[in-house]
């Protein structure tokens, strides 16, 4: 049974259809990436999985249908979404942002320990602990967004363009951490990226979306060696 499976998923904003029946699935413990150009429907796919847009079609998480459920309930199943634009609570402190990540957890007594664990991955956030989150740099806010998601102790993380707006060095650092989180904590990840080269290095599997449809899928190695992908998305 796949961890997450979408079947014939449609989504629209008001009158504009953005997803035209996409289907994909991912196994537990893996990193899967959705690639595609601007406007292909990657962000919408993640939003559709979390019930943030109107959808038709099926989404199953651990074999259980989750389409049509409220976002707040989907989070409670262990799906943490690192949204487009990072979703920082700008006037709250870094620490408060992190505590909010653990909001739905029942085991409140472990939250402090988890915060230290997250600071282990991102020591910079520890220095910024009492600082208003809106004053953090873009890279720090992205780290905060990832950390906030980790505070849920998620089974699955949905990451929307984690590399967006960051310097290449910081992107590399962030992706290394994502990989080690995946390996050490067995957190599965669905990563949406425009930076195809970085994403394919990170992921086990990849899907390519064009104008709201899946046009190609396979292991990262297969996708990397696909000629048209190489020309259009990897640029060599």
């Amino acid at each position: 049974m796949p961890l997450l499976a979408a079947k014939n998923l449609h989504a629209s904003y008001a009158l504009t259809r953005v997803l035209h029946g996409i289907s994909f699935s991912m196994e537990e413990g893996t990193i899967t990436t959705l690639l595609g150009a601007n406007g292909a429907g990657k962000t919408t796919t993640l939003r559709a999985l979390c019930g943030m847009v109107k959808t038709q079609g099926e989404v199953a998480f651990e074999g259980q249908r989750i389409d049509g459920r409220a976002t707040e309930d989907i989070v409670r199943l262990g799906i943490a979404h690192v949204p487009d634009g990072r979703g920082t609570f700008v006037s709250l402190t870094t620490e408060e942002n992190l505590r909010l990540g653990a909001y739905v957890r029942k085991d409140r007594e472990n939250v402090d320990a988890d915060m230290e664990r997250v600071f282990g991955y991102f020591p910079r956030l520890k220095e910024r602990r009492a600082q208003q989150a809106g004053t953090l740099s873009g890279g720090e806010q992205q780290m905060l967004a990832v950390s906030r998601a980790l505070m849920l102790r998620p089974k699955l993380m949905l990451l929307d363009e984690p590399s967006f707006g960051l310097a290449p060095l910081i992107v590399r650092e962030l992706f290394d951490i994502l990989r080690s989180v995946n390996e050490k904590e067995k957190v599965s990840m669905l990563v949406v990226e425009q930076n195809a080269a970085m994403a394919l290095d990170l992921a086990d599997h990849a899907y390519l979306i064009e104008t709201g449809r899946i046009v190609l899928s396979g292991t990262s190695e297969e996708i990397k060696s696909n000629d048209s992908v190489r020309r259009s998305y990897l640029g060599y």
């Binding site: 989070v75 700008v90 709250l92 909001y103 409140r108 806010q141 849920l152």
Partner: protein, 290 residues
Amino acid sequence: MDAFIHQVLSGLATGGIYASLALALVMIYQATHLVNFAQGEMAMFATYIAWSLINAAGMPYWAAFLLTVAFAFVFGVVVERVIIRPVEGASVLSVVVVFIALLVILNSVTGWIYTYTIKTFPSPFPKEFGIGVYMSPHEVGTILVTLIVLFLLYAFFRYTPLGLAMRAAAQNPDSARLVGIRVGWMLALGWGLAAAIGAVAGMMVAPIVYLDPNMMGGVLLYAFAAALVGGIDNPWGAVFGGFLVGVLENILGAYLIGHELKLAVALVLIVGVLTVKPSGFFGKVLVTRV
């Protein structure tokens, strides 16, 4: 000189009431970017409930006080769920019309149930509370109650997970949903809290202005002025504004423009702040790096 000090101190007492009501306005404004015009009438209605509990049911004052606060909280939650929720996402004007309808309905229903005859409302503070010629027992008591309310609110929002969740929901509803906060309920809780604070303000002001269905009209106007002076998105600003407006109202009323024109102070402040410094004294411009 004694008279002047008295004016300032009693201004602080009424200012505390304005501060409480302004805080209620700010709480709802922060979450919805709307000003609840019915906030005053909701407080007035709760005060009548307290009056019934004390006079008809013969309850001791503080028992009636607590029960009224609880009632106001539930009433606020129900109003949000039943009346405000359906117009969520409607245009600002539609919501404003709903607020005004709520104001008029509460006002008329109260008048219908209790008549428009002015009633006295008791003050619970014994005369030992008074400070000589400077402050009456009720004025000292009002300031104490205001400070307790402010402290409780601060502690709630600052130190409890629910308070944090409410701040998060007000600030960034999308992100709040993504961490599992039930944003709709947080709004309802905010309404409940605002109504509860309003009820306290109503019960504190009623012994001064007497109980009648129109008693909160002036108070709400001062609270608006307070919230605007402080910056409508800043709770501390609203509290500061409340005390400032209370003192200004008293001093100007006593020495400059006379009692009949006191309410004009509020209007002048509202218009003045909106034209000169729309963000108020403490309405902060948030700096965000991207």
